[in-house]
Amino acid sequence: MKVLMLGWELPPYNSGGLGMACYQLCKALSKKDLTIEFVLPYSADHGIDFMDITAAHPQGVASVTRSGIAYDSYKYVLEDGSEEWLDIYDQQELYEHAVARLVETTEFDIVHAHDWLTFRAALRVKEAKHCPIILHVHSVESDRSGSRHGNPLVREIEEMALLAADRVIAVSQHTKNAIMRDYGVPADNIEVVHNSIEPGDITPLDPNNAYHYLETLKSQGWRVVVNIGRLTVQKGLPNFLKAAQMVVAKAPKTMFLIVGSGEQYYELLTMAADLGIAKNVLFTDFQRGKRWRDAYAIGDLFVMPSVSEPFGLTPLEAIGYGTPALITHQSGVSEILQNCLKVDFWDINEMANQISAVVQNDALRDVLHANAFREFQGLSWTDASHKIEKIYNRHLVGAAV
């Protein structure tokens, strides 16, 4: 079986969870009896050997590069050496045309596309080749816009594609509900396949944490609360800062470490100062590698305050790096993770209450993590790959859905 996988990013060129989920899923699937050709909108060496990776370039383009930030513009280097920058919407259209050209010369059995940016390309292939398309939803527009309506152009693409898909995969029940609510896709055409994590992929920490200052503060009785993610409306950080203010009033020796970048960066900086907790909040900007891992590790508690999180890998990563998590009920990961603290994203008092409890009680922190870590060790992408293989097979034999 030959799978045409349409995706937007892969690590290490990923801006967040989407690229990592695609990578892990394909890695698990590659152990099955199938081959994967993964088509990306940019060219780069990912060091991946378990599948073929193709860059879908429009005609006359020598290379396409991207920065690490989601929804940033893309740099096109044309064959004559000139450069051009495209926004995400134009890029999405070019990708569609490039994929259409690609399938003119190559045969596939099934198309598996990840999120709206690749959905039009998938529809094109279906139109040209009449092969089944599986659309995998990692987030919908209402998630990304913090439960608001979002961009109507994006909604239009999502609606059209999801209704035309042979099968829709949602990364959580939370996401499945959103797809039904926003686009009226029938429940029995959407299958929930939860994301997961590979415990074996956790990179061992080296003994010198990059946040030396925070380590020193901790030795003085301070405690550290960490958030890692894009600083965008979906992630609920203003509520987190309001809770932080209440925590600092109760437990002044608490530092909040916020790792990430995004359009709310300056707003959050100013907000921390307005709330009178500027001295207790550290912003580090976007980090990768050791500094990213060490941010998880330095924490006494990881908080994911998301307003709407289709899945939410970060709390699982935090647990892997030794830190228990507080998450919102409005997340997909809350459907599979038991040993963690859970609040509603709007319940700032409760968020503050639970954070205060952990930073003032090391025993609670340690028990919470020990139990979460046991859960974490039982996770893998294998179950997800079984479920997806079944979906492929059903559609290949032409069985009724």
Binding site: H212, Y213, L217, Q220, L269, T270, A273, K279, R291
Partner: protein, 402 residues
């Protein structure tokens, strides 16, 4: 009766904070030495300003002092710029010494670190004024008689303090809401004081030179020494025209190509053509003219922005909280006796750090942006706070509980 131009130039360079991240806090205590080619390199900026402004301006000032016995001026020169000149542009420092050696250049008192300590810690403020006095005595061989607070930040308390400290005069902005119908072109007396006198900047005339000189859209462009002298002569009763501005106006804010140096060279010649016209240092103006009225300034005024208050430095929450956090460390920092730590703490007090965090006109890309080595006010704030956290780390190493 004589009529004097009181030219007063302010010389200052801060120690700009380099790109300093949370990963430096607790590891690298060097906040101020950036790579030479970086935007925040103090060495590179100091050398550039010395080349473009200090050396050519001082050459012309020295020439004027030699050829015009009546030409005089006053300078305020901060401790932080003197240190940097000693380190990176000793020739420029020598040229300032040469000016002073003529005996017709008066140095004005201020805080060593160009700080707003007056509003946060009187003890620290007095220490910095004393440090500055000693530095001026050592480098220029004179003792300041007239006081200016950082950014010309002034209120009745500043006057009261300077009076008690024995200064004969203090400088302030000649802001209309304070003066009302009165003119800045006289000597005044601050309310609630005994002996001290107040000189107020004529901001219209000063800004004609400092801000508008090179603006080709300005209706008075091009400004000539002849025209400017004529404007002054129109005020028949004035005694002293207080032209206060940044020294870097010459060659840095107004580039050489604008003709600013020619203007500087010609102004004294034009002005002194009329009998009775002269130049005075700030002390001489105070000694020669009786105060015409008293001036009451209950709220702080400065020489910045259309608001003329401290909002350019303390107006937003980032600024207000970071400066307060810094001064909250005072007792612990001083107690350590660690001179390097104390010095770094003082360098972080320089008002420029807070000016860079100003968001008032961030979107307009105005004058604040022009003077900032950072791309955004937020970047300035983050660097500052990371350095602040490193100060705390160093306190922990001294056994202080933070």
């Amino acid at each position: 009766m004589s009529k004097a131009i009181v030219l007063y130039l302010h010389v200052h360079q801060p120690y700009r904070i380099r790109h300093y991240t949370v990963f430096d806090s607790g590891i690298d205590h060097n906040y101020f030495d950036a790579a030479y080619d970086s935007q925040t390199s103090n060495e590179r900026i100091l050398k550039k300003v010395a080349e473009k402004s200090y050396l050519p301006t001082n050459a012309r000032l020295l020439e004027l002092l030699r050829t015009n016995p009546q030409f005089k001026l006053s300078l305020s020169i901060t401790g932080t710029v003197i240190e940097q000149l000693e380190r990176w542009a000793p020739k420029a420092l020598d040229s300032f010494k040469e000016l002073c050696a003529t005996g017709r250049v008066e140095i004005v008192a201020e805080t060593y670190h160009h700080s707003l300590a007056f509003f946060y810690s009187r003890a620290e403020f007095e220490m910095q004024v004393e440090m500055h006095k000693r530095k001026v005595q050592a480098v220029f061989g004179q003792t300041p008689q007239v006081f200016r607070n950082t950014e010309l930040a002034y209120n009745n308390d500043v006057a009261h303090w300077a009076d008690k400290a024995g200064y004969k005069g203090v400088l302030a902005e000649g802001w209309d809401p304070i003066l009302n119908w009165r003119s800045p072109n006289y000597v005044y007396r601050p309310t609630y004081t005994d002996n001290i006198r107040l000189l107020m900047k004529n901001y219209k005339l000063s800004d004609d030179i400092a801000f508008r000189f090179g603006d080709q859209n300005w209706s008075e462009w091009p400004l000539t020494a002849d025209k400017f002298s004529h404007w002054l002569s129109e005020d028949k009763n004035a005694t002293n025209f207080n032209l206060f501005m940044d020294y870097e106006t010459f060659g840095e804010h107004q580039w050489s190509e604008s003709g600013i140096f020619d203007f500087l060279s010609h102004l004294p010649v034009e002005w002194l053509k009329t009998a009775g016209n002269t130049f005075m240092t700030v002390s001489e103006a105070i000694d020669n003219f009786e105060p015409v009225d008293q001036v009451d300034v209950p709220n702080t005024i400065t020489w910045a922005d259309t608001e003329r208050d401290l909002s350019a430095w303390l107006g937003n929450a980032l600024q207000a909280s970071s400066i307060q956090a810094l001064y909250d460390l005072q007792a612990d920092v001083i107690k350590t006796g660690d001179l390097a730590l104390i010095d770094d703490w003082r360098r972080l007090q320089t008002s420029d750090h807070f000016y860079y965090m100003c968001t008032k006109y961030f979107n307009d890309g105005d004058i604040h942006a022009y003077f900032s080595p950072y791309d955004t006010p937020y970047e300035a704030y983050i660097n500052f706070m990371n350095a602040y956290h490193d100060l705390k780390f160093r306190l922990i190493e001294h056994g202080v509980t933070v």
